[in-house]
Symmetry: C2
Subunit: 104 residues, 2 copies
Amino acid sequence: MSEFNQVTIVKKANIYFDGNVTSRTVLFADGTKKTLGIMLPGEYEFGTAAAEVMEILAGELTVLLPGETEWKQVTANTTFQVPANSSFRLKVTQVTDYCCSYLS
Amino acid sequence: MSEFNQVTIVKKANIYFDGNVTSRTVLFADGTKKTLGIMLPGEYEFGTAAAEVMEILAGELTVLLPGETEWKQVTANTTFQVPANSSFRLKVTQVTDYCCSYLS
């Protein structure tokens, strides 16, 4: 799916890490939410409330998922899932375009 | 207007200047288009095809509009307009969140 139709988009961006990570919030008619975001090269740690599915649209990074000790390479057109109420670490090596789906 | 309703959003980002300027394309039912974007601090030159209205949602920058010799300060909650088929220069001093409307 290359676009989302009949959605609501929040105008203002979500800005984190001095603008090195930014996203826009997309709200769906069924009450679900996704964010479309950009991460510039750098190291980041994020906490989750809801569980998340991160789909990488472009870029290159490694991820350390909660409870794991090994960093995993993630490339474009792949996804990884993060449990609710946890945190995960990312090392972004190339500008990364992502779509994050929040699971309820 | 803090959000856009019943719109289509293109999933993939538009990425310029090594990711220092990125945007998402929003398509409206009336056939018009806007982009919601982020510019990190830096100096940029952009060309226009259609005329554009740039609304600054957050951040700080100066702009040199086509045919002008004086840089103008632009702050949050202000707009400036750029003619079609021209180019303009920006010096972004703080992470800037913008909404660009393309006029037909």
